[in-house]
């Protein structure tokens, strides 16, 4: 069985070159490990960040959806209330209109009108009250056309050109 080449069969002192090499190798390995750990940590952190972002995004999305749903529901509720209120107003207006119509119908009774007319001392206009006029004759007085006489001042002003006179 052959011994490892770094161990001298005749001497138990370690070969210094072998020692250095071992240390360097170990150091490299440690650095590699460190680097690898750093890489792993960075990768994990990135992944975590990604997940966190997704979770936050999802939460935000859900919150938005919930808010939108609540807002729409509130809007529908408000609309429904408005609709009901408007329907109520329409019904009330319709009722008032019908009530008014009933009052008008009652007040339009010819007997009622006649009684009110008597109370107001209104008179019945009959043909005896008509004024009969013979339109074949001219009943209007012939009027003379009155021409206003010009005063001396007016005459003078009329001679002078407008711009100068004023």
């Amino acid at each position: 069985m052959a011994l490892p080449n770094r161990i001298h069969s005749m001497n138990t002192v370690p070969n210094p070159s072998v020692e250095r090499e071992e240390r360097r190798r170990r150091q490299e390995e440690q650095e590699k490990l460190k680097h690898s750990r750093e890489l792993y940590r960075m990768k994990t952190a990135a992944q975590n960040n990604k997940v966190r972002k997704r979770v936050v995004g999802t939460i935000l999305l859900m919150a938005t959806l919930v808010l939108a749903t609540l807002w729409r529901s509130a809007e529908i509720y408000t609309l429904q209330n408005e609709y009901v209120t408007i329907q109520g107003s329409i019904r009330e207006t319709h009722r008032q209109n019908e009530d008014l119509r009933g009052k008008i119908i009652k007040a339009s009774a010819i007997g009622e009108v006649a009684m009110q007319s008597l109370d107001l001392d209104l008179i019945v206009v009959d043909q005896g009250m008509a004024i009969h006029t013979d339109l074949s004759k001219n009943h209007f007085e012939e009027l003379e056309v009155q021409v206003q006489k010009e005063s001396l001042t007016d005459k003078i002003l009329s001679i002078i050109p407008f711009e100068v006179a004023h």
């Binding site: 529908i76 609309l79 429904q80 609709y83 009901v84 329907q87 319709h94 009722r95 008032q96 019908e98 009530d99 119509r101 009933g102 119908i105 009652k106 007040a107 339009s108 009774a109 010819i110 007997g111 009622e112 006649a114 019945v124 009959d126 043909q127």
Partner: protein, 578 residues
């Protein structure tokens, strides 16, 4: 966990799933329809949209009867009992205030609230002012046993005025009399329906599907009646009734050119707003008879124009031909007299009409003969309903073919023994006025149909071209005779200086039963009437005035003609008759 437990849990879960699955199948497949219907009933409301009853208007669009929305109050007597038990009160606690608000008698309300029934109608056809006061009271007292819902009121703004023509409606707004009954199918419209999904409070859910078939409102009916003409004749009929202490007074005014009735009144009347109030059913039946249409009477001498017109048309007499009156005429051993047995001597048709000569008229009828007389009587529309658009029209009673004796002919010619309705009489006169064209009277002229879309359509009804029943010559000669009857007499009650009135009076003895129950003509009970029109040259109106059993006088010229004169004078102020 042991294997057996896993198995048990799996079986339980499986059974739960099987049970749920089975229920799902039951709900969605087997009992689907039933469950769906139940669910729909909970969220769906089917509401009848009541059609509004059409209005009745006069020829100028004035409202004679119309409907508006109103309210009704019902009581849930179970809820009332609960409330009384809870509060320890008696129903009398609410009765006084409620009766006062609703305008009811306390006893009546108490009786209703004490009924052995789960619910009761408290009052219907309530106006808004009353219901507003009731609602305030309901809130103040936290009342939960009263239910306010919709109803409809039919208004007849003029009360008893035109009552026999307009008629009345029952509590459910269905016509029971007059035009309301005759045109009920057109006036009532067609109810609609609305199916919608509702929430717990009965409010419609937004964005849910609504199936709605809108109600089609009843058509408006436009009459030939003129509100002002009607007002005039109503007042005159009232005066006549009071003055003569008559059993009844009827007045009919028409436009002879169209056959449209301008006014129709029967006194006494009833109030269609409260047709049964304060009267018994028998009294109501008596009062609600439209005697102008439903009852026939013996027209007396007003019938003579038809006899003479028939003879002239048949050519058996001449317009200038003279007939000799000896004061009486004997037929088959029986005697027909002129009034007071006065012998009028020789008279032509104008003279016969002016003197109201029975003998002359009988001689003309004899010349015409029984068959021809009956033929013309039929042509004038007697013996059958004229077809006027009012319910229960009487046909009158005539002698059957082959059953009229010579004496019957004589008395029928002077307006006794056969009966006619006032509507038949005025339709017959209108034929003479229209140059021989017969056009029966009618009440309604137009219909305004209202579509669900809001569109309105006008439909003319009762347009009648008329049918010639006598020659223009015969009609003209009779009209001249009727004109002479009014203008040629010094004593005519219908004579007016500036208005060319034509017409004829009649005094018909009434058939009454004596103490032994035998029927016979009464000497003191008569029907006095006047039939005529104005102006003679171009008649605008024709009038029939009937005073039934006047107590102060009997002759048509004294009792009926002066009222016709009053009507002509009043109408002349409205539309000139000169």
């Amino acid at each position: 966990m042991k294997k057996g437990r896993y198995g048990f849990l799996a079986v339980v879960v499986l059974m739960v799933f099987v049970a749920l699955g089975s229920r799902l199948v039951y709900v969605t497949v087997i009992a689907r329809e039933e469950i769906y219907e139940k669910a729909q009933n909970q969220i769906q409301s089917k509401r009848v949209l009541p059609a509004k009853r059409g209005s009745i208007l006069d020829r100028n669009g004035e409202v004679l009867s119309s409907s508006t929305e109103a309210y009704r109050v019902d009581a849930d007597l179970t809820a009332l009992q609960r409330k009384l038990d809870r509060t320890g009160r008696s129903s009398a606690y609410y009765t006084k205030s409620l009766a006062s608000i609703l305008g009811m008698e306390e006893e009546e309300l108490q009786e209703k609230l004490s009924m052995d029934s789960p619910h009761v109608i408290i009052k219907r056809k309530i106006e808004k002012d009353t219901i507003d006061a009731l609602r305030s009271y309901i809130i103040d007292e936290s009342i939960d046993f009263l239910v306010v819902s919709s109803d409809e009121i039919r208004y007849f703004p003029n009360g008893a005025y035109l009552a026999h023509v307009l008629g009345a409606v029952n509590i459910d707004n269905q016509g029971i009399l007059g035009l309301e009954y005759y045109y009920n199918d057109l006036l009532k419209g067609v109810d609609g329906i609305k199916i919608a999904e509702i929430d717990q409070r009965g409010r419609e859910l937004p964005f849910s599907e609504v199936v709605e078939t809108p109600a089609i409102e009843g058509s408006d009916l436009i009459l030939s009646i003129d509100e002002k003409v009607q007002y005039i004749i109503e007042n005159i009929a009232d005066e006549a009734m009071e003055k003569h202490e008559a059993d009844s007074v009827s007045i009919l005014v028409s436009d002879p050119q169209t056959g449209g009735v301008l006014g129709m009144v029967n006194i006494p009347e009833f109030d269609p707003n409260n047709p049964f109030e304060g009267i018994t059913i028998e009294e109501f039946h008596e009062l609600s008879r439209n005697t102008v249409v439903n009852d026939a009477y013996e027209p007396g001498s007003t019938m003579k124009f038809a006899t003479i017109a028939a003879a002239l048309d048949q050519g058996v007499i001449g317009a200038q031909e003279q007939f000799h009156c000896e004061g009486h005429i004997e037929i088959d051993g029986m005697v027909i007299n002129c009034v007071d047995n006065v012998a009028h001597g020789d008279l032509d048709i104008s003279g016969i009409l002016l003197q109201s000569c029975n003998v002359g008229t009988v001689k003309i009828a004899q010349r015409l003969g029984i068959d021809n007389f009956q033929k013309y009587i039929e042509a004038f529309g007697f013996g059958m309903p004229t077809g006027i658009d009012l319910p229960g029209e009487s046909a009158g009673i005539l002698f059957g073919k082959g059953r009229m004796s010579a004496f019957d002919l004589g008395v029928s010619a002077i307006g006794q023994s056969q009966t006619m309705t006032p509507v038949q009489m005025l339709s017959a006169l209108n034929a003479v006025v229209n140059g021989g064209i017969y056009r029966p009277l009618h009440m309604a002229e137009k219909l305004h149909h209202k579509e669900a879309s809001g569109l309105q359509m006008e439909e003319m009804i009762n347009e009648d071209q008329g049918v010639r029943i006598i020659s223009e010559y015969a009609a003209k000669e009779v009209l001249k005779g009727l004109h002479h009857t009014v203008t040629g007499s010094l004593y005519s009650g219908a004579k007016i200086e500036d208005i060319e009135v034509f017409g004829k009076t009649g005094t018909a003895e009434k058939i009454v039963a004596d103490e032994e129950g035998n029927l016979g003509y009464s000497k003191d009970q008569v029907v006095a009437s006047f039939i005529g029109g104005a102006p003679f040259d171009q008649p605008k109106v024709t009038i029939l005035v009937i005073v039934n059993n006047p107590k102060d006088a009997i002759f048509g010229n004294i009792v009926a003609a002066p009222w016709a004169k009053e009507i002509f004078l009043a109408l002349d102020q409205y539309f000139s008759l000169k």
